[in-house]
């Protein structure tokens, strides 16, 4: 018996991100689906209210695959619904979140101002580990394929 298998992959994910992620075997459909179910990146967000003047701050929990869309919406420079991309955990008016808000986030979810820096370092390091030989092999095959194509052209 054949059943329709509605894939949720690519359904709501930004196409550009999906294309980038498809380069990485670790970021398979199953892994991304699973991680979005369980993991959210805590973002500290600042900006202005609809009036364009009143400053606000928020802490938002965004599933990893939605980060790209969120950043794109931010880059457009227009007002948008932040909670389209994740769950607003706590929000308020003012340029900076008050210490008690930060403390609340730290207690509930953890708070590390250097998170992105560490993420980048880990991302790079991760590729250097022996555990990633499978991935490297895949990439090497791709590079070899590209090189052969290039050689053929020459």
């Amino acid at each position: 018996m054949i059943y329709k298998l509605p894939s949720i992959y690519f359904k709501y994910m930004d196409e550009e991100l999906a294309k980038l992620l498809s380069e990485y075997p670790e970021l398979s459909k199953e892994n991304l689906e699973e991680i979005d179910e369980h993991i959210a990146v805590i973002m500290m967000v600042k900006g202005t209210e609809e009036d364009g003047v009143t400053p606000f701050w928020s802490f938002v929990a965004i599933p990893p695959t939605q980060l790209f869309g969120f950043k794109k919406a931010q880059a457009r420079g227009e007002a948008f619904f932040v909670d389209d991309y994740g769950e607003i955990l706590i929000t308020g008016q003012g340029k900076e979140p008050p210490p008690e808000a930060i403390e609340e986030i730290r207690a509930k979810y953890g708070f590390d101002p250097d998170f992105e820096k560490k993420a980048m370092q880990q991302f790079t390091d991760f590729k250097k580990t022996k555990d990633d030989e499978k991935q490297t092999g895949f990439l090497m095959a791709k590079i070899k394929e590209m090189k052969e194509k290039k050689d053929k052209k020459e």
Partner: protein, 653 residues
Amino acid sequence: MPAPEVENEPAKPVETLQANTQSIVAGVTIVEYVLDYKNHNPDSPIKLASLGDGANHKSGISVRVDINKITDNPDAIKALQEKLLNETGKEFTLHESKSQGTVLKHDIGGEEILTGNDKAQKIVEAAKDLVKKAAPTLNQSMIDTRIDIPVLTPGSTNKTPDAATKIGSSKPSATAAAPASPTEPTFEVSTIAPTEYKAEGANRTLTFDTSKTFPSELTKIIDTIKSEGARATYNAKDNTITVTAQSSSATTNVAIIKDVVEALDKITQFGGTVGKDTLLAGITGEEAGKGMAGKPAPAPTTNPSGPVKPGASPKPAPDKSTPTTDPAPAPAEPTAEGTIKVLRDELNSKNVDIDLSQLSKRDRATILNVLKNAKYDFPQDTTELTTVVFSDTKKRSGGVQALEALTDIDQGLEKAFTQALSSGDKEKAERLGNLRNTVGSALEEAQKSADIANPYLSIVKGLVKEINTETDGMAAGAAGFKESGRTDAHENLLITINKALADPKVDKRAMNEIALAISPPENEKNKSNPGITDRGIMSDVREHWNKARDHNSKEYDMDGVTKFAPARKVTESSAVGVSQDGGKAQEAGKFGGLSAKQWMIVAACTVLSGGVVGGAMAYGAIKLYNNIKTGRENLGGVSPTAGVNTNDSGRTL
């Protein structure tokens, strides 16, 4: 030479689509659609030129190849893409649509096909031309017709089986199979004889013996079956036709089978030991829960342990439990012949039960495990658990919670089914597939109950579905656009919101259910409804909701009714942590409790998305992002993984 089995073979033995890398047993379907929509959605992937008639519309055609049956076979999909490219000269890209699932799609823009005023005809002709090129076996005369195209396995040739020749219908059919004609008929009267009727989960199948059917009638019979919405499988070896109705609802499937019988009665005679009337009476009996001849009556419902609420400790067997000397034995067969019921005594009932008592122990355990995995809090031992109860909360009714639980079960079973398929465990896959059909029927019924409890919710959900379909570009042409640039469904949704919020009979909880239905897609709190996928339309609807809510709050007490957060301009954002399952990721190990793989994905998404907003991210992130992008084009330079350098031999340094 006996004719081999064929199923939905094309009418003529000419070339068909072929995947050359993987064995594929399922077919693919080509579907074509006319699009006609206003440029209200700048994010739409379909970019088409304006028409020359001055209308403020953008039109074109999307030709889609339905590949839902082969989504677990990426190599086959790739091979099919290449084949389509070779056949048509057009690139077909992978696309997900809500209504169709996974398709390969090619859009024909207005600039390619439209000149003069006769735009509709040119659109149709262009689509037909492309489909014809993609599948030369087709003799398609109607747009919006679905046609099965077999994909051959490696080693087989691009032709229909030797003995499968076209039966003498003067009008070739695009949709019907072409059964073989092994011998000349030796009988005088053409009849079909029903031989078997089966219920498997929600599915219903009816088999006819066609050994005494004129071959010239077979194609017409198959066409008739398909026109009633059922699947027709002709087995030349056994000389049978099997009719399969496999929608998610058993009630619908029974109705389809009955319609098929009625329709066939008009073109041929029923022979054998079971005539049409007996057959219909049997099916009607099954419909009424009487069971078919030869099929055991459903086991009596037992509830030995009583209901248990998610999150609550198991209760001792209450007086509700039925002491019985004859408890229902767990069926040994790994099938889902039982049903799941969602019980709601009255519309305002505090508790809604999901009754699993008619399922086998094994299927019950599967479902409860799915719920456990979906983070429902169950007692340790669920072996005797037959009913799960959902109670009303301040904001959410028990019915909606039960719906979400059923949706979770459906999704969990889908995942388990996929895993079983990929691991090659066909028996398990079939059991899970049957169970999923059973859950689907329960979900449909529960949906009806919830809709009755909140009539506006039903309308809102229907309109949201319609909007999402339009967003997918399927039916916008039919819907049309108002002066405002909105479609009928879009405007009707705003009107319905006004009505619901102004109706004092609709309580806060019901209004919050509506709010959830129009909240963002895949909202954690809203698993039973996909929400509005088009962010532009969703913004509009949410703004309207807030305004209508505030307006009505002057007259009614609206405390506790959801108000959506306003639109805001974000100037700065940075990741400061990671949450796991709604809480703090445990601080064990280097990755804060995440596995290396999970952390890798979080880091990749964080870093890659950081590249989008240049000024807001550290220089290193931008550099890394650029490296990733350029790495794909540069040989011997920075690889796409950034940080993995290579030498000429391709080894990692």
